[in-house]
Structure formats: C-alpha cells, structure tokens
Symmetry: C2
DNA sequence: CTTGACTCCGTACTACGGTACGGACCGTAT
DNA sequence: ATACGGTCCGTACCGTAGTACGGAGTCAAG
C-alpha cells in the first residue's frame, strides 16, 4: 500500500502521514525502492490518532497514549486516568464558555434597537473614544 | 505617558501595544522626540480590546467592532447583531464540547480497574497495534 | 523508450497572538 | 560627561497541526 492509498484509507492527506512520521507518531514503514509501503496496522494507528484528536487530545497527548499502549506494564487504569484528566479539561472549557455565554446574553440588546450609536449604551461601553456619558440608552 | 506606563495602566506588555499598533488596532500616538506618548483614550481602547478578547472575540473581530464604533451611521443594533453572532458561536462550541464530554464519560473505566493492558477493552480499542480480540474486559 | 503520475526530501509558509532579540538612540540623574 | 534605564525599529521566534512547493527520482502503461 503506497502513501496515497494509505491516506485514502485512513481519510487524511498524504502530507499529514509524512507529518505524523516526522513527529514520530507512526513508525517508518518498510520501503520498496525508496517508496513507503504501509501495513494495515499503520492505517489503524492513523485512524486512532484522528479519533483521539476528535475527542480533544492534542498530538502530544496522543503520543503519550501511544506510549501507554506500547509499554508492557500499562494498566487499563492508566488509560482511564488520562481520559479522566481530559474529561476534567473539557468540563473546564465548558464552564468557561458558559460564563461567556451568560455575559454575552446580558450584553445583548433588544432586537428592535435601531437607535444611532451615540445612544447605545453597549457601544459606549465598548467604545474606546470617549467615556460613557449618562442618560437614556436603547439597550442595557 | 510612555509606552511602559501605558502598558502598566492597561495591564498588557509593551510588545503587545506595539503589536496592536502594527495591526492597526490602535492608532499611532503622537511622539515626543521619537518616543510614543499615549493619551488616556488609547489606554481605554486597549482595555476594550482585552475585554472583548475575554468575551471570545478575536483581534480580527475586534477590528470590526472598532470600525463599527468609528463609523457615523452605526446603530446599536449593529453591535447587537455582532454580539448575537458571537453568542451563537459560543453556544456551538459548548454543544460540541458537551458531546465530547458524554463520549469521554462513556469511555471511562471504573476506578478500581487495575487489569494489565491486554485485558483492557478501552486500550485495545485505542491501540493501533492489533485488532481487538473477544473476551472479558475490565472496562466498557 | 518515453510519458505521465506518483513519490521522495527538505524547507518554507499558513493562522493566531503575541514574545524575544539586538543594535542604536534618547533622557535624566549623578 | 557619562552611566543607566527606557525606547526605537525590524526581524525572528514560540506552539499547533498541518499545507505547499520545487526539483529529483521511480514506476507502470503504452
């Protein structure tokens, strides 16, 4: 299986495979006459990498997962704790985004707000050019 | 106010201010003998930029917000629609992360799982080296 | 035997938001 | 007058995950 066939199989670009190889994520395949020949196992490995990325792991973290998979004394618990770690991270990101969501909601104008900008409290709050004066505003 | 005083005031680094200037986010301050002199308005503008970043806007988007603030015919609604747009984006990201959260939860082992890796279904599912065989597994 | 497609390799470039560096210049205090 | 710290500018670099490029080599079909 040549590199382009492997790329097709694994659903990535040719350059991506070369990149994974440079990074040491997949090992050098045997080559016939200078051309890489990919075994099935490497295709599975690439699919694993993409799936892990989808789950939020970075390539560096995936490197560690692969090291776990390669080590003799790895237990299932090792993998679980890596997963738990990532889960905590994802939950943290969700919490941050939800705080932002609330802040944006609070900032948001009523839909019928068509007042010119100098009457817009939101824009004034954002505006760098002048400190907000007092008075009536179209949104809050 | 020199650049380092301005940086202190605004809570950013000196290089950050120079970077914003290069990007056109803040305008060139008047200079005394080749040294930048910052007016209060620019400090406010930098604070605005940081606040907007915190709310999830990229520098490119902030450029647009600043253009809105500068344009004569900008209405409050214009700002609101930008905010709504960003809110939708944030909600999308939350939804994606929540899907990942559920997937990670489902993958997660029981805590007392200490079986060696070859009995770990999770690791086998992840492992690139061999297709998972059948049998008993410590986690599911 | 030649053509065209594929592959090789190293290097440079993308986006993002800065950070770091180095040599020159300036302003103030001593 | 001179030392010290701040500032100037352009340029290069950080990390992440690739993507693009160019010139050379290789393979299979016609």
């Amino acid at each position: 299986m040549t590199i382009s066939a492997a790329a097709q199989e694994a659903g990535v670009g040719v350059e991506t495979i070369r990149y994974y190889e440079r990074r040491g994520l997949i090992r050098q395949p045997p080559s016939k006459g200078g051309y890489r020949q990919y075994p099935e196992a490497t295709i599975r490995q690439i699919r694993f990498i993409r799936e892990s990325q989808r789950l939020g792991f970075s390539l560096t973290e995936i490197e560690e997962l692969l090291a776990l998979a390669a080590a003799e004394d790895t237990t299932c618990g090792d993998v679980c704790s890596a997963t738990e770690h990532k889960l905590a991270e994802v939950r943290g990101r969700i919490a941050t985004l939800q705080r932002l969501e609330r802040e944006l909601e609070e900032m948001l104008c009523a839909k019928d707000c068509t007042a010119p900008k100098r009457d817009c409290k939101l824009l004034e709050a954002l505006s760098p050019s002048s400190p907000p004066p007092d008075g009536e505003h179209c949104c809050h």
